[in-house]
């Protein structure tokens, strides 16, 4: 098939010039890296029952991003710094004990969001703009800039490296911490290393779809993948693919949405990405639902 008819076929979907802009190309690369990293870490987040910790780390990126904006550096630096510090504090005040975990998470979350309230207020008064608040909370993958790509890739590789190295001990300790400890695995150190990977993944997600929505990219594709496969390796691959697909389709729809209204303003990418992830999750539940229906009758 030659290129011309294909382009004509896709013309109504992919607006002419979609791949022409640098901001779109950067968004496509960064979005894919971030989605794959989030999906990989997300599978372990879901099976370890640490979705709340993931959500909290995501929300806690708000003060990080707003502080970076105030100082005038790229938000990603703020996201990464605060994420890692927050993960360390959670670890120190007892996230490892299942009973203390939610409490520790909640306390750190509350304190962090209090700081965020101040910083976001300062952002909007000092810089006299409300754009910062929206960018930090709900992301802006189109404004990332090509200079950030190496850092994004580097952080992404670091996270994937941690998960690959710790794959087997992580899996066993997710099944039973006791069984892992009995085999001589340092469960505490393992949990801390995993939390670091989670913090970095969430920081990357915060930059693309926003601090508040980063959990959606972390947990959504992973939860969908867990319904579709019973093998851990496939669940990770599938979560990464689903996340990347949602990200790319979201970027495309956001780009298209510029043409939808006469005002010439597009809808946020984050809205499309999160909606697509949610729809995929709902759809993945259908086979199980149908099986239960037919089994019950």
């Amino acid at each position: 098939m030659s290129g011309a008819p294909l382009a004509a076929l896709l013309a109504p979907v992919i607006e002419p010039g979609f791949f022409a802009g640098e901001d779109v190309r950067v968004a496509i690369v960064v979005g894919a890296v971030v989605a794959i990293v989030s999906g990989t870490v997300g599978v372990f987040t879901v099976i370890r029952g640490q979705s709340f910790a993931g959500e909290a780390l995501g929300d806690l990126n708000t003060p990080g991003g707003s502080a970076a904006f105030l100082v005038g550096v790229a938000p990603l630096w703020g996201f990464v710094a605060v994420s890692v510090v927050a993960a360390a504090v959670m670890e120190l005040i007892g996230i490892q004990r299942p009973r203390g975990r939610d409490l520790a998470t909640g306390i750190v979350l509350g304190a962090g969001l209090g700081v965020a309230a101040l910083l976001l207020y300062l952002d909007s008064t000092v810089h006299n703009t409300t754009g910062a608040t929206f960018t930090i909370l709900f992301g802006s993958v189109f404004t990332v800039g090509s200079a950030t790509i190496p850092l994004v890739v580097l952080l992404g590789m670091a996270v994937l490296g941690i998960v690959a190295a710790l794959y087997r001990p992580l899996l066993l300790s997710s099944v039973s911490a006791e069984m892992a400890a009995a085999r001589g695995i340092h469960v505490r150190a393992l949990g801390a290393a995993y939390l670091l990977a989670l913090a970095l993944a969430v920081a990357l997600a915060a930059m693309t779809i926003g601090a508040i929505l980063s959990t959606a990219l972390l947990v959504g594709p992973a939860a969908t993948a867990l319904r579709l496969t019973r093998r851990p390796g496939r669940a990770i691959a599938l979560a990464g693919l689903l996340g990347a697909a949602a990200m790319w389709l979201g970027i495309l729809l956001a780009y298209d949405s510029f043409a939808w209204s006469s005002a010439g303003t597009g809808w946020p990418v984050s809205f499309f990405v999160v909606t697509l992830i949610f729809l995929a999750y709902l759809l993945s539940g259908l086979p199980g639902l149908l099986r239960r229906r037919s089994g019950g009758s």
């Binding site: 710790l166 794959y167 087997r168 899996l171 085999r183 001589g184 695995i185 993948a225 019973r230």
Partner: protein
């Protein structure tokens, strides 16, 4: 507690050589309370030993000491004649209360495979040898039918089989199982017990299994370690499950009744008023009115 090994007739034929596990005068204090007091016993290869005691008698604590997850305030544990090292490939372990999320993306064969090399870094590479070893182990525990099912969706008895395969695949010499029969119905419990007895005999593995009820284990138990009040009595069931031995252990008079092949340990007639007070402390006891 005195050790009774020497008094047991016929033990020499039963035992296959030196002790694989030797627990010597172990005492454990947890937040000021003495949970275990001078517990001593030994296990030889191929022996099936029941660790019997009510909830809170210290069974799990004793397991944690043997595994090296809990330090003892006195005494020592020898594995194959040597002090225990941090990660010990000699021990296979099946924990208590294993409840896995039904959605966990882990097949029975994946969990068995983790038994080979879960402590290693990196991602396991699939190989024919690895697959064959896992298949062989699933067959050994009669779990090949559900090898490809999600572990979390298996029944309690099926999960126990998978966990036993997970523990056995690393070729341990000692298998520790913490209350493996607790959530099983009678038939599933009998099947698991028969499987463990077969494994102990065929592979010359020492099996130490904890339970609050001794009756399901009576047909296969070579030796018993009876825990009460932090102290232990060990020997054959005939040696240990006796009114005088258990009365000394409990520190109050108990009777051992044999009813239709079931052993019941009950508070003695002289202490009838204390019957309900001791109810929880007497494993295997049924109130006889």
């Amino acid at each position: 507690m005195t050790r009774r090994d020497e008094q047991i007739p016929g033990l020499e034929q039963l035992a296959g050589g030196e002790e694989i596990l030797s627990v010597q005068g172990i005492s454990v204090r947890l937040s000021g309370r003495e949970v275990l007091r001078e517990v001593s016993f030994g296990i030889r290869p191929g022996e099936f030993t029941g660790l019997i005691g009510s909830n809170g008698a210290g069974k799990t604590t004793l397991f944690r000491v043997i595994l090296g997850l809990q330090s003892a305030s006195a005494g020592q544990v020898l594995l194959d004649g040597r002090p225990r090292s941090h990660r010990n490939p000699l021990i296979g372990y099946v924990p208590q209360k294993f409840l896995l999320d039904p959605d966990m993306p882990l097949r029975a064969r994946d969990l068995v495979g983790l038994g080979i090399d879960a402590h290693r870094f990196g991602i396991p590479l699939p190989s024919r040898a690895r697959r064959a070893l896992i298949d062989q182990m699933l067959q050994a525990v009669d779990a090949d039918r559900f090898g490809d099912a999600r572990v979390g969706q298996l029944s309690g008895g099926e999960q126990q089989r998978v966990l036993i395969a997970h523990a056995l695949i690393a070729r341990p010499k000692l298998l520790l199982l913490d209350e493996p029969l607790a959530n099983l119905d009678l038939r599933a419990a009998q099947e698991v017990v028969a499987l463990l007895a077969r494994i102990a005999a065929e592979q010359q593995i020492a099996v130490l299994i904890s339970a609050h009820e001794m009756n399901p284990l009576l047909p296969v138990m070579d030796r018993i370690v009876y825990l009460a009040g932090g102290r232990a009595a060990s020997g054959t069931t005939a040696e240990v499950v006796r009114a005088d031995v258990l009365s000394e252990l409990y520190g109050s008079h108990v009777d051992v009744l044999n009813v239709h092949g079931r052993v019941l340990v009950v508070a003695g007639a002289g202490d009838a008023s204390d019957l309900h007070g001791h109810e929880a402390a007497l494993p295997g006891m049924e109130i006889v009115q």
